[in-house]
Subunit: 141 residues, 2 copies
DNA sequence: TATTGTTATACTCTATAACTATA
DNA sequence: TATAGTTATAGAGTATAACAATA
């Protein structure tokens, strides 16, 4: 019963609204772990590629190096991640035992969330969700 | 040539990345008007429903009333929107002549942007973009 | 009592510029 | 010269609590 929104026919607008709404949902579920979606993505990345550097993580997430600093610092303070110098200037990131446990719990929540998202789409279209989102993000050409 | 991202199979993650990337693109294009995507959506809404109140706009955008205040104040200071008391506590929003002109220019940019987004998706899937995004956002049930 | 607009405030995310120390 | 990590800073966007005026 929401008032009429004239923007609902615009894919970019819908993309933003859908992203914002579903992220808020995910953040709500991750709150019980004391983390947010950003942390969850970071945990999944580092768990899958232990030893990758901050700069590499920044390139993957397309975020500024400067913004990675407080993220890593917070998770390090929490005993979730460790930094190991590999290079004098680079430092490889690895999850601690605590971090691995947190990662498992976060992954469970994320996977349930992702599965639910997908189930919102009628079955006959479900296979197109990833290709369409990928195309919107980065057209093939 | 971006490093491998293990999260690319997750619809919610893709939704966020696609939304962030395309919004940055839109903001870049709107910069020449001195506005951002939020302002553009506001202009389009008020142009289509002149006289609607701040609270109504907040419900449509699902944003907090408190956050509407600086948005309207800024656009009012700029001579783009006017507030007319309708009620003693409510105030109807209308675009000024300047605001209508700005709205036209913003709409042009938005429409071109939206059309380009859609064209990124292979033609055979294009009709499914809106239904799929809508379903992800608010499942029918 | 509920609603509208408002103030104050805080947190997350993002962006830029500039610095250091390494490569 | 270019890269990795860092500091400082600023701007968006969002969230909550509380208040005055009005319905």
């Amino acid at each position: 019963m929401r008032p009429d929104d004239p923007l609902l026919k615009l894919p970019g607008y819908l993309l933003r609204r859908a992203s914002a709404a579903t992220l808020a949902e995910l953040n709500g579920r991750l709150a019980k772990l004391g983390i947010r979606h950003t942390d969850a993505a970071f945990l999944i990345l580092v768990a899958g590629q232990p030893g990758l550097t901050q700069s590499e993580a920044c390139r993957i997430f397309e975020m500024q190096r400067a913004n990675m600093v407080p993220l890593v610092a917070r998770l390090e303070r929490r005993g979730v991640v460790e930094r190991h110098r590999v290079d004098g200037r680079s430092q490889g990131l690895v999850l601690t035992v605590t971090g691995a446990a947190l990662h498992q719990r976060a992954r469970r929540i994320v996977e349930r969330y992702e599965a639910e998202l997908l189930r919102r789409v009628p079955a006959k279209w479900r296979a197109l969700v990833l290709p369409i989102l990928t195309a919107l993000w980065r057209p093939a050409r």
